[in-house]
Symmetry: C3
Subunit: 132 residues, 3 copies
């Protein structure tokens, strides 16, 4: 199992980790990688790469903040710094993603990139890669 | 890696691809298949098969259109034909699904079928199958 | 393929199955497990373990009931006991999860536990485990 660490910069943030993951996969002849996030307020998704990446990432961040509403009644608020909504946003994105590889790199669509989804940042996050 | 192509018929559509995928898996002695969609406005899910399939698929389509609201403010609208909400709907369904196999076919529950989720159709979509 | 059965106790319930799954994995030297739910109104997610587990699980249950609203118009209502919203909640959580193993146990984060998500209980549910 390979392990990556990244630093997020905002409370809610889609952070493109495609290049970082490809660097760690380089030279592998595996056919698949499992990208696993060992956190309960973060996730992993595939979304838009290239020219539209920044706008789409911002739209996904804003939409998840609208779908899971912070003014709802919450139970997990016993400590001042709890963000119960961040757990629900992580449920919606998911914390494990299995992606095909080709020639030692993620075999994504032309318009796809791999994102860590931060819902309770900024903080350091871990990403675990398992090759198959 | 096997590749399938399907044509969707509507803007939002759950398209049953169970039979199509089983045809391509036929004869395989693999124990798992990874179903991967290399698109950012489409997904894959398991949902109802049989007599309830049409009604449940229509309910899932309508619910995703209600959960991700097109009248929200969006950033990814620089071109007239952009559908930023379709990216968020794809995030909610996910683009990779790992499914057990038995005797060269998807080992689904009695009431389960495999669906491609179209959120920005109609168009041709690709599905990649990797056997483990 | 290993098969577990669990009994859920409520209509909507996140049920911690970490210990149950670890018992079945015990002694395995596999590097990954695919946790698969052969149902269309149930799912699997990783969420909070430990002291916060009960509050977070209750928050996730309540949030999914708010995100997918039972008073929306639904098509899958031909029989009196249908719960069309439970299918949509299952779509949002997902029905297959691939998790790394270490020394014959789920290699989760310190604060992560594995939950079966019941959206149409109480009833008996099946969980299929495939080792890689």
């Amino acid at each position: 199992m390979l392990e990556l660490r990244v630093q997020t910069q905002a409370r809610t943030q889609l952070l493109d980790i495609t290049t970082l993951v490809n660097e760690r996969l380089s030279g592998s002849d595996a056919q698949l990688v499992v990208v696993f996030v060992p956190h309960t307020t973060a996730g992993v998704v595939l979304q838009a790469a290239g020219a539209n990446a920044t706008a789409v990432a911002a739209d996904v961040e804003a939409a998840l903040e609208r779908i899971v509403v912070e003014s709802w009644p919450w139970k997990h608020t016993s400590e001042g710094d709890r963000n119960p909504w961040s757990h629900v946003r992580a449920v919606l994105t998911g914390s494990s993603l299995t992606i095909p590889l080709e020639r030692g790199a993620l075999a994504l669509g032309n318009l796809q990139a791999l994102f860590l989804c931060e819902f309770d940042g900024p903080r350091e996050r871990t990403i675990r890669l398992t090759l198959i």
